[in-house]
Subunit: 217 residues, 2 copies
DNA sequence: TTGCCTATTAACCATTTGGTTAAACTTTTT
DNA sequence: AAAAAGTTTAACCAAATGGTTAATAGGCAA
């Protein structure tokens, strides 16, 4: 947070150790389930250091929460600012999103839970990084345009948006149930997610396919 | 839990008051965020009563958790044991599921969170109500059959299953984000969910529509 | 009424938890 | 080298929390 690094590598190391430990523990247990002691233990340092670098549990959480979201959002959004055919965009988006989530499997459950607990965090967050409202607008626009161009059949952009996100995210928040219901091991579930990238893109594009009238592409 | 009711209505009333309060508080805050004191306050009784009727916080939680799931599952499953055309089944299922969730909006986030925290609960749960594994099997079967009958295009039943659940559930776990992104008030969001029932069913059926003999893609 | 059982409460207890402090240790500055 | 500034630790503290207990109130049977 604030320091006049004497030997930058070592000091930064401590702060980073804390952040990494805090991320792991907060993601796994949530802010309520996490304790400062456990974070300190995972970081391998004294508990007082947490308060030395970050004033309080809430402050530390805030930093982790912010970092977590900011690490993901730009990657996901990026696809929608690139110039490519609509169907390619869908394919890339799904693949990218699932890739990111596979690399951070605990993230969606963490973010969604904490946001449900205190939705105020969202407004506080949007205030600091004001590019979030635009991304959905961008998405809506492009769907709307694709409909206009006859590339896809008419759909309500908002409904479609929620559907796409839901289909991508759900396997990660519901993993315990789904592995049980499908009788799959962890490794098999990874495979399932791998296959899902292509399956989902095709599923979505099929759902959007314009009715047998004009047939562009 | 256990009592020899003298005046049955009053005693039952107390136990029910506890259960209702516990449900509300657990659903809202999760087991970690909830405190016995708050539950007692909401129920309007002394904290010791919680331990008198249910031995511990964990036991009380277990009861609430079990009740919560058992209240929903049968309703949802029912559709898939009725005899009707596949597309009608999809429509009914989506409508029914979203209806139930609208009546218990906090439920999915609650269940998913607690299941992510301690997946052991699932096995403990399945042990007591052993009809759960069958429902997904039933679903898979029926999708498989529909494919065979040429009613729908070939899809992996598991992938399809996850997609349908995800699209139904996601709007409820991600409500704070979605209302923000879509700039909707609570009432407007209710409307969105209302419309979603029909939109989603059509979306799904479109995605499943078997291709005509014309060259695919 | 009297005794018995259940229900209910206030007070209490041990542990955990977030947070503080003062002293010790290390690094930088002069 | 000595002072100053920054870093780390052990010990400590107050509040909150899950849980217990002993005493009280209240219905019911004899």
């Amino acid at each position: 947070m604030s320091k006049k690094a004497t030997s930058p590598n070592k000091e930064l190391s401590t702060e980073l150790k804390i952040l990494e430990a805090a991320r792991a523990v907060f993601h796994a247990r949530g802010i309520d389930g996490a304790t400062m002691q456990e974070i300190a233990d995972v970081a391998g340092i004294n508990k007082a250091m947490l308060h030395y670098y970050f004033r309080s549990k809430d402050k530390l959480f805030e930093v982790v929460f912010h970092e977590t979201i900011m690490k993901v959002i730009p990657q996901v959004v990026e696809v929608f600012f690139q110039d490519m055919p609509f169907d390619e965009k869908i394919r890339r988006f799904v693949e990218r999103y699932i890739d990111i989530l596979q690399a951070n499997p605990a993230m969606p459950a963490f973010v969604l839970h904490e946001l449900n607990q205190r939705p105020e965090r969202l407004v506080a967050f949007i205030g600091s990084a004001s590019n979030i409202p635009n991304i959905s607008g961008r998405f809506f626009e492009q769907v709307h345009q694709a409909v206009k161009d006859g590339l896809i059949k008419p759909v309500t952009p908002e409904q479609f948006f929620v559907s796409v996100l839901g289909m991508c995210v759900f396997p990660f928040i519901a993993k315990p149930i789904l592995t049980a219901l499908m009788g799959r091991s962890d490794e098999e579930y990874q495979l399932f997610l791998q296959e899902r990238k292509v399956h989902l893109a095709e599923f979505i594009l099929d759902a959007l396919r314009p009715l047998p009238k004009t047939k562009p592409k």
